[in-house]
Symmetry: C2
Subunit: 125 residues, 2 copies
DNA sequence: GTTTGACTTCGAGCGCGCTCGAAGTTTTAC
DNA sequence: GTAAAACTTCGAGCGCGCTCGAAGTCAAAC
């Protein structure tokens, strides 16, 4: 396995992105890769720097709770070219709003939990 | 169905907590209720104000992502009396730390998404 | 040229948290 | 008294997001 500046094996990609090789193949199957992943003559996957960049962003979408199906929709739009930029923007903006709402809910719930913690601390001190 | 200040039917409880009747029964089955739910002579559930208070808190635990099994652990401890207060405190504190870490991760990812949004806005204006 | 290990595809399985529906009982309204 | 609505238990099903394992191929090391 030759390491070049240009391409990564799936194991190296897993290392680079923090995802498992299983998850990388799964995401590809689910249509979440922007472009088809290159293959070596052996049919082994070869990831580019652009793939790393995209998967890193996709991971941020996922870590904020965007469903797989919405990520798929986003990449499908991206593949369709510049004309879909407004729609992609709308998708991201809508997602941001949902995330902010959820952050607020979690923060509010956490405040109640914190209050309970102070009660416990009062009783055990 | 008589409405008293003292007890609620499952439908009223659903209304009061924002959960479905299915979910209320599910939580009970999973051992998440602090005390056994009262029954009318007809074997219909009768919820008390204390039940509302507890389910409201349980909902906050859930909305911050505490797994069912941890909520169960928490109520089991609570049922075992005051001696378990340090352990319950530890459980909540540990949960708070996980939630804060996740809030940070989500916030960081959201910043990257926001950045992408500004790029799109630059291109479409 | 043989061994070792990283890769391939494919489909099945799993853990979580509900969610639903069937079949039967009870309550309420008329 | 009767019809409709609300309840009961129970077990099955579902959507999501992986996760795993089997069976086979390929390549680098020796």
């Amino acid at each position: 396995m030759t390491i070049t500046a240009e391409s990564l094996s799936i194991a190296q990609m897993a290392e680079a992105t923090g995802l498992s090789t299983h998850t990388l193949r799964y995401y590809e199957r689910e249509g979440l890769m922007f472009a088809p992943v290159d293959r070596a003559s052996s049919s082994h996957r070869r990831y580019t720097e652009a793939d790393v960049t995209w998967v890193s962003f996709l991971t941020k979408l996922r870590s904020t709770g965007m469903p797989i199906r919405d990520v798929r929709r986003y990449v499908e739009l991206a593949r369709d070219g510049d004309g879909t930029m407004p729609e992609r923007l709308a998708l991201l903006v809508q997602h941001r709003e949902r995330v902010l709402a959820q952050l607020e809910e979690v923060t509010a719930s956490l405040a109640a939990i914190d209050y309970k913690i102070t009660l416990y601390e009062g009783h055990t001190s």
